[in-house]
Symmetry: D2
Subunit: 358 residues, 4 copies
């Protein structure tokens, strides 16, 4: 398991490089009987597609998914579901600038250090296109979760210093702007900021927040496979993520027990509820039945149109100016990737929970 495999019961393996023949994923362990078609997956892939706005790359990727196996007469069979997206836009380019030179903020140097060489075309396996496999599998996981009444919703919480205002929060608004911000005014301000960055040949980071509604209590394993630990790994495995927090997160480190503890109470329907949700829906690594809320910090896109200091494979100090047009931010396209990774994690632990009692 060299890192492209995830999950114990709902287990996936992704493959593919930016400029190879395609990218894809196989899911081993999706329960039989789930209604599934290509459109269920395609709508998730469309949300991460490039070319949606002037803040994302113009590459026409198409990204049409094909279900190769595991679905029969519209339902999953319980056997592996193989999904493939062919790479279409493979113009032969001039990669000499990144073939020999290590781009700052990228994995080029680390891949060479690990493997001795690398597929340098467009970043190869470390390209953002690798997330297509995640999103495709995540779409299937979302479908499974829906069956159990669980919905996963992520959105852009902040871009640079511009954050959504909780007072203006409107999830319906999320899909109406190209930055996937659930706050129209913040989205407008962020767009303006990004225009400025493009002119300055620079980039910025941001924060994605994700809410999981409808979680039953009892999901997550104590000790190492805590639900929040597994979510952290899944989210931190997305390229460019540098931080993860759940519930009050880092703010909890400055809080007090008397404030941070969520009081339990019985609601009218005889269900245990909490007065507040500082915990973010997880206690002791196990879901407590309230909404799960977490955030991921994304670093600025490392590819910028400025000259930078670096070294080449021959061990010489050189300057690099990365050609082409670069996204000033990865966050908007990453929103659906966060949803996918969260769904994959919850689906796996939900199935694993079936073994916890006689």
């Amino acid at each position: 398991m060299a890192g492209s495999t995830l999950g114990t019961v709902f287990c996936i393996m992704t493959w593919g490089e930016s400029h190879g023949k395609g990218v894809g994923v196989t899911i081993d362990g999706c329960p039989a009987g789930l209604s599934l078609c290509e459109e269920d997956i395609q709508k998730y892939l469309n949300r991460r597609k490039p070319g949606q706005s002037r803040f994302t790359t113009a590459r026409q990727e198409g990204d049409q998914v094909e279900i190769l196996s595991g679905v029969f007469e519209g339902r999953t069979t319980g056997t592996p579901i193989a999904l493939i997206v062919r790479n279409l836009d493979q113009r032969s380019r001039d990669y000499r600038d990144i073939m020999e030179v290590y781009r700052p903020g990228h994995a080029d140097f680390c891949f060479d250090a690990k493997y001795g060489f690398r597929d340098y075309r467009g970043g190869g396996r470390s390209s953002g296109r690798e997330t297509i496999g995640r999103v495709a599998a995540g779409a299937v996981a979302c479908r499974l979760l829906e069956h159990y009444g669980i919905r996963v919703n992520a959105y852009t919480k902040s871009i640079g210093d511009i954050a959504i205002d909780p007072q203006r929060f409107d999830l319906a608004q999320r899909d109406k702007n190209l930055l996937y911000m659930p706050d129209e005014m913040a989205a407008a301000a962020a767009a303006e900021y990004l225009e400025k960055l493009i002119q300055e040949r620079d980039s910025c980071g941001g924060v994605v927040e994700c809410v999981i509604h409808g979680m039953p209590a009892g999901v997550g394993e104590p000790v190492f496979d805590k639900l929040d630990a597994c979510l952290a790994k899944a989210i931190m495995s997305i390229g460019a993520v540098k931080g993860f927090e759940i519930g009050d997160g880092f703010a909890a480190a400055r809080s007090r027990g008397s404030v941070n503890n969520d009081a339990f109470y019985m609601d009218g329907d005889g269900v245990v509820r909490k007065s507040t949700n500082h915990s973010g829906g997880i206690l002791g690594g196990i879901s407590d039945g309230s909404d799960i809320i977490f955030r991921a910090a994304f670093k600025p896109t490392p590819s910028i149109s400025k000259e930078q200091q670096t070294v080449n494979r021959s061990g010489e100090n050189v300057q690099i100016l990365i050609k082409g047009r670069h996204d000033p931010i990865v966050v908007p396209r990453a929103v659906v990737v966060v949803e996918a990774m969260a769904a994959l994690t919850v689906a796996d632990l939900l199935l694993l929970k079936r073994g916890s009692r006689l």
Copy 2:
């Protein structure tokens, strides 16, 4: 694998409850030939022992480790290393207050929701004593890393709002105060704050920072088993941790590419180095050869001596006042747990890396 198993090559399984017969861990996959004795492990366990200061519980735990297998004539044999710590302080207490009632901020409710019942004595498996197995195994991992020139050092970065001053940072100071803060002045201020919290029957959180020196480049697997993703999971699996960030972490989300990118350069010895370390030593999930730096946010101790609103197993709204003396903070004792989890993660990926080339 119901969550008490960690690692692929350097694989561990922990066991034990707070008031059962003991706690322990077995390590399957430690390479043969490593010099190891009980004292190598005991010195790590001593750092997490209670009763060290008036800020930690007075329970006399002893926590003497015994190596049961896997070591012969002072060296590891390559077969499983079983470690056990017997629980000594098992006074028969009155647990009726937590047997039937769910403590806010604790996993009591979640365990019942998951398993149908729980070992309520002292928190059972969700007790902080569970970390003994982590620390014992982590001590072996540290020993293995030392063999390869890698050192893991964690320390308290902040308690409540009181943070160490980078100007006064002195790692040698860390072990001279009971709060494990590498800054004498901050430690004194924090001690004063904790005294106040004790009087107010409250608790607080804090942040632990960890630095891994001597990492070779190339450790970590692309995609899902990125080194930072695995670290995030390992650290977030420690009870009370609510956030994880690497390098600039959440601050990177507010930064720019031109600032956040670390420039590469060749040092005098022909080694690739970086001018800055915003990345925290990892690019694309793979170590880049510089120090790895990450932080963990701990929530305030949930056990406080104030009356709190909650519910009981019968579904009634009740008040709870948790008896006994409580640590006003978990952070100082958690420092060595963070080191242990980091070492376990790095050891596993270091061994896994052996398979990356012919």
Copy 3:
């Protein structure tokens, strides 16, 4: 996972050497709520204990199991169950004969080739005492299977050329003779044969057969984790096993489709049954609802009291005469080990099956 870990959901890790402090096992993933006490485990361990007859070693091992965790008020809690058996009979012996010299038919040479050195005392980790962990965990698995109406029964089918007669088969007879043969006459003949071997300072092999009653249809995963494939691995992992076959096994290779196919029919209760059971209860790797029947071939005990040709660690050709008293056969004590491994395999796949449908 260096080989001492088994199972995906019902997962175990064993540890311990012949002359170390003890042997044991931890089970991670046993469902909560199962009634369990030490006696449930002890009765299985007693069946593999030495000193039961003149055909097994006289060592007084005691083999008293202690449950260290995971059981509360007589029921499993869903958290790890740690089991330990202390080694009592650790007389300091003279191991020089096997310290430097590789015993034919043993793993001594292979351990040195793999690890560079080995714990040579009594075979260390490759000793038959390693099976105590298997049997202890297997006893818990049997308890779990009983809850679901599944019973696992193994017995000695043959010793050397002396096999039980199917006409005289009587399972109740199995526990009445020291060879665990369900045929009184065969047992008497085998005892006589073993007496002769002892006089000739030789040893022999035999076959263990195992029947699993009460299996529901649908257990086992297609492709790599077929129920028969997992059973084969579990059984072949017992030291001294050289062959495994299910149903008609090797005889099926000489049969015809018209004979070997089992016809299906509906029984009076509306249950699908088979007229014959050449398949041994598994089709396509998945249980078909009929009894599972398999056999394991054990080689002769390699320790014999004859002088043998071998080499030593210094690379010299030498003669070896292994001192002490040796069992002329391992089969009778291995019967319960076969049951244990079968139960562990079925328990894991039974729990895994819970994920196969919505």
Copy 4:
């Protein structure tokens, strides 16, 4: 992991059904730097292709493999290698005969019992076409083993009662007859026997033997992941295999220690060798440096052109006559599948062994 995943370091996941869009496999964990092209894989696939003789199905499958990822400039990159074979021959047939009726000796009933329904077209996931993924991945494993001087060779040892004569054994002969028997005379006799079976509308089983040359000592993990245990699982996971034995196998159960023990001696080059190889190259689960030899028993093809008694999905007793032309034996086409599974097993344990010492 619902059974389509195999291996710890060299890890594969297969997918695909008989009459879906295709079949394939992804390999995660092949070391970087291995020379690999499609022809390296195709030549293995060609050996399992149908239509090679009148004893195998006439379906023109083509079975052209395409490498989708993980290979760059002719060498493996260390990232996942995705392989796909499109299904070409998907004539719309009339499957009503097997849609509602359970074929004796097939997995139809078990799939329904497990998943609630199944892809009935040509056996779906339980079809022999599933082995294409095994063979494709196995070809890559063979390539890796070749790099380390290890060769895997399987051949037909017997068909029905007709076995090769060890005196006439000639491996070069294997590829000269359509039954892959390394004995020209036995092959002729077997062909005659198969002709007779075709006329009688019946089928038969056989035995495949496999030899692994060039194994270094020290491969395989003690206890559960013994090399022979892993081989047993891999081989028994091939559909139709009912038995596995290594070295003398079941014959060892009738032998004596004085005969069955292999004496060690030093050869002229200072290498430890064995005078005999009753063990089949493995002691205590670890390779001893001599050839590994094992055998697999295949049952007769269950699809025969005779009327058989069975039941249908509605729970009625019915007769079934399976239409079409059936292979009278699966063994010749299974020879390369055995090689593939052996290579996958050895490759994984060989890489895992890298972690056994400092």
